[in-house]
């Protein structure tokens, strides 16, 4: 049995027949080939799978594809501008060495953008709290927190 689902992903209209049990993350990775969204756990703890659903950060491992009918989804692949220029948050991660192995990074960046949207004046403590649903095993978070802080500043200054 399969169900048809349609949504917009990174500005592109897509639709497919999926098994009802298909998770959004599986749909993104396996049907659309958008493998930048990662799966790091099976208990909604790690945040490697975070994407934007209708403008808000959501763990794509915890929502079914069929629940996203008609939704607007942005993944890490859709964040940089079409000419390849990094989004200010991505750029901040690069500047501040906010990634090592890079596995947690897409989820971190997506959630960081969400923090910027919700708390444009976030201080260090707010950022650390805001990242509580994202696990990184490599960086000790220090450079990530610095990156998010500076990424928020850049976003506030309208660098997109």
């Amino acid at each position: 049995m399969s169900t048809k689902v349609s949504m917009t992903v990174n500005g592109r209209k897509v639709s497919a027949d999926v098994e009802p049990r298909t998770l959004l993350v599986q749909y993104l990775r396996e049907h659309l080939g958008l493998t930048g969204t990662h799966v790091g756990c099976d208990t909604t703890q790690c945040g490697c799978c975070a994407i934007h659903l209708n403008g808000e950060a959501v763990k794509s491992c915890t929502i079914l594809a069929v629940q996203c009918e008609g939704a607007d989804v942005v993944t890490i692949e859709g964040l940089a501008s079409p000419d390849g220029e990094l989004h200010p948050m991505q750029k901040a991660f690069w500047e501040h060495h906010g990634l090592q192995c890079g596995f947690c990074t897409p989820g971190m960046v997506m959630v960081a953008c969400d923090i910027a949207r919700r708390k444009p004046d976030a201080d260090e403590a707010t950022i650390r709290h805001g990242l509580e649903g994202n696990i990184c095993r490599c960086t000790g978070y220090q450079h990530i927190v610095e990156a998010v802080h500076s990424g928020i500043q850049a976003m506030n200054q309208g660098k997109r």
Binding site: T43, Q45, Q100, R128, R137, Q142
Partner: protein, 783 residues
């Protein structure tokens, strides 16, 4: 090249060149790889911890939709698949070699830990494979499970392996205890301690995954799997499945989501997957989830230490005695028994001058996932033990712990340890000073008072530690000049977060004057890796890989001078090489021009073989010829006596990583190591149920991964003393952090709790444990 070396040279905080792709979601981790026609595999895992296998009934599974095959250990045996045995061969004092297991990827006789793979199901889709795996029935004859070393050593304990009824893999001693006993007799004080070093798990964020693609036409298999160096996979799989023919196996790993030691291990799943792919003549993929990864990745630590130091009236250590019980789990893996001896044992006395040592280590088998290399690999345990003792001695003797450390630091180098290793250089008092300065040790009293006003207990603590880095003493690198004028570094070391593409480019930019952006890194493929390229583990890549690059570049410069001399009509001895230019008599040619000329017979001196590419096998004089990263970490905490909750208010790391090639990257390594160390001390604990042998903390719901909120803004400073064992002067930075952080945190918490009468506590310092410790101290105090 205007600002030569200023922006991109060695020592600069160069931004990583590998990041652009990773930041855009373009990383290619194993699960991102798919090949047409691939089948999917699921494991049938032991639901019990200890049992004889009476039979396996796969009939229902074989009938299930999409199922292609079910294989068990019997099939592997029939097809002559080999077993895995460690190459460790440690001996006891009587000269007897340790017990070693021969592990078949899927066991036929017994299961020895909960979660051990027993059979595989291959089907057309991943769902079908999983569903059918549930239908495989394994008939067990259950045995009592054993999960702790103490249980394993009990008189009537069941044997994990019938051939070794006492469950002891190795009882290693450095000597008899006579010398220590004599020293202890003359001592002013003996200070003893009993510690549990909690079992933890490395947890790279990328779960385990493997795709084995069998090409039936060529008879060659390509294996995609996250790994810290592909030669090992190639070696093991060709040994086990292809009669030792290495050309039949290729390993590829583009990006790997963290390693921490565990991604350097051959594990049974990868053998079973490759077996299935070969048998079916098809590509077979397994995407392990986190819960599976928690029982498949080898665990770390898990020691019980009973130790004492003997001191003279001034607090100088006269001797050190250690009785160590290491829980190595169900199988004797590559390093399980070796870690406490060859890993932690190397630096067992830490940064202290220990004139006499007695070290006894029992490696004990249990019904748990085997323990093996995890970041630090024996050194965090060793440092934790000696420094907890030194800290305790300071309190027992009423000497300031900073002063007692000072009185015992090794200060004369080179220093030969009781374990026979020579520490070349370090400045431990200076690291201590820097750490204390960074954390503001002197102003602590006022901060404590302020906390008291709010009803909180404040504590400060420090620790000094040392590491021994470098691993295997040889590594090969290849430098190849490309037609487009760029230079490729072709290697077997493998960057899974360390930023080798950036650091190697910095080294070559300095050495050969090649623009930073014109250096490429080719890694992660056994088809391109040079012979003799081992991989990345033991914090070895900057030292071993870096030195191989330097030596290869030296040869290139030498040859380049001859070619340049020929072109500029000067004797090679007159040619100078600076900033990428060969210069002689008013003329100059760049290294890239020379690389081109090297392929033009008209431009080469007579008799010179064409090409400027170079491959170099770098060897250290011996395995013991390593480098010794060290440092001092200081930590300040606030404890809420009502909840037992700990807030880390400050953390300062003064690290001696030798010459720092890229401070941004090395800071990142330090932060990461510290975070893993704090994790062990604060929240992480793999708990086995003693009755059932089940792992109780097998997901992120119940295994406490450290998160951003657990940490303060860390201060990290460098106190470099260049290593004398390599020309770069580097020391491996990767593992130092977790050698210091746990101890610093525990010392800070003990400092906070000491006024309540608390003298000891074991990791992890969860609120529950801290609260209980406070309560029992109060009860004792009231009695």
């Amino acid at each position: 090249m205007d600002s030569f070396g200023e922006k991109f040279g060695v020592g600069q905080p160069v931004r990583r060149k590998e990041d652009q792709r990773l930041l855009k979601g373009g990383g290619k981790y194993t699960d991102d790889v798919n090949v047409p026609g691939q089948a999917h595999l699921a494991f049938v895992r032991a639901g019990v911890a200890h049992a004889r296998i009476k039979g396996i009934d796969a009939s229902a599974a074989l009938e299930a939709p999409g199922v292609l095959a079910v294989y068990s250990g019997k099939d592997l045996e029939t097809d002559g698949v080999g077993t895995v045995m460690t190459d460790a061969a440690l001996k006891n004092l009587a000269g007897e070699i340790m017990f070693r297991t021969h592990r078949l990827a899927l066991p036929t006789d017994k299961v020895r830990y909960a979660g051990e793979p027993v059979a595989v199901v291959v089907a057309e889709t991943a769902y079908q494979a999983r569903d059918a795996a549930e239908m495989v029935l394994v008939d067990y004859d259950e045995l009592p499970p054993i999960v702790t070393a103490a249980q394993a050593l009990a008189k009537d304990a069941a044997a994990i392996h019938d051939e070794q009824p006492d469950n002891i893999c190795l009882h290693w001693e450095n000597s008899t205890s006579d010398a220590y006993d004599a020293a202890a007799k003359t001592a002013h004080k003996i200070v003893s301690i009993k510690l549990i070093n909690n079992r933890v798990i490395p947890v790279p964020m990328e779960p385990k995954c493997c795709l084995a693609d069998m090409d039936t036409k060529s008879g060659r298999m390509t294996v995609y799997a996250p790994f810290q160096g592909g030669r090992r996979v190639q070696g093991a799989l060709s040994e086990m499945l292809f009669g030792g023919d290495g050309t039949k196996v290729r390993h590829v790993s583009d990006n790997t989501g963290g390693g921490f030691g565990t991604r350097s291990k051959i594990y049974p799943e990868i053998i079973a997957i490759a077996y299935a792919a070969k048998k079916l003549g098809r590509a077979v993929k397994w995407s392990g989830d986190r819960s599976e990864t928690m029982v498949s990745d080898l665990h770390g630590r898990d020691q019980v230490n009973e130790a004492e130091i003997a001191l003279d009236p001034n607090g100088k250590i006269l001797g050190y005695k250690i009785i160590n019980y290491v829980n190595i789990g169900a199988w004797v893996t590559e390093n399980g028994a070796r870690l406490p001896v060859d890993g932690g044992g190397r630096i067992v006395g830490g940064v202290y001058d220990i004139p006499v040592l007695y070290y006894s280590c029992k490696a004990v088998m249990t019904n748990t996932v085997p323990t093996d290399t995890y970041r630090g690999a024996g050194r965090p345990e060793a440092n934790y033990l000696i420094d907890r003792l030194v800290e305790k001695a300071a309190h027992v003797m009423g000497i300031d712990s900073r002063e007692l450390r000072r009185r015992n630091y090794i200060t004369k180098f080179p220093y030969k340890t009781q374990m026979g290793l020579t520490i070349d250089i370090g400045d431990f008092p200076k690291c201590q000073d820097e750490a204390c300065k960074a954390i503001g040790w002197d102003g602590f009293g006022a901060r404590r008072k302020e906390s008291e006003k709010r009803g909180k207990l404040r504590g400060i603590g420090l620790t000094s530690f040392i590491e021994g880095a470098g691993g295997r003493p040889e590594e090969t690198m290849r430098l190849r000049f490309e037609k487009d004028g760029t230079l490729s570094v072709i290697c077997g070391t493998f960057s899974h977060g360390q930023g080798h593409a950036t650091v190697y480019s910095q080294i070559l930019h300095d050495k050969l004057g090649i623009p930073f952006d014109d250096v490429n890194l080719i890694q992660g493929d056994t088809d391109t890796a040079p012979e003799g390229a081992a991989g990345t583990f033991g914090s070895r890549s900057s030292q071993m890989g870096g030195m191989a690059i330097i030596r290869a570049a030296d040869i290139i410069i030498d040859k380049g001078k001859k070619i340049a001399g020929h072109l500029l009509q000067a004797p090679p001895t007159e040619v100078e090489f600076t900033e990428g230019q060969f210069k002689a008599r008013a003329g100059s040619v760049s290294v890239t021009e020379i690389a081109k000329a090297a392929h033009d017979p008209a431009k080469l001196p007579e008799g010179m073989p064409p090409g400027l590419d170079e491959t170099y096998l770098y060897k250290r004089a011996s395995r013991d010829d390593m480098n010794f990263p060290n440092g001092c970490h200081a930590c300040e905490v606030e404890v809420d006596p009502d909840t037992g909750g700990i807030t880390i208010v400050d953390f300062a790391a003064a690290d001696d990583c030798g010459v720092v090639l890229n401070p941004l990257i090395v800071h990142g390594q330090v932060h990461g190591g510290v975070a893993q160390g704090i994790g062990q001390a604060l929240t992480e604990y793999l708990v086995y149920d003693e009755e059932t042998g089940q792992l109780l903390t097998g997901t992120f719901m119940d295994y406490g991964m450290p998160r951003a909120e657990h940490f303060p803004d860390m201060k990290a400073v460098f106190v470099p003393t260049p290593s004398t064992n390599n020309e770069l002067g580097v020391k491996g930075a990767g593992e130092a952090g977790c050698c210091g952080a746990p101890t610093a945190l525990v010392h800070a918490v003990l400092d906070a709790l000491r006024p309540l009468g608390v003298a000891e506590i074991d990791m992890p310092l969860t609120p529950n444990r801290v609260w209980h410790t406070i309560q029992s101290a109060r009860v004792k105090g009231a009695a």
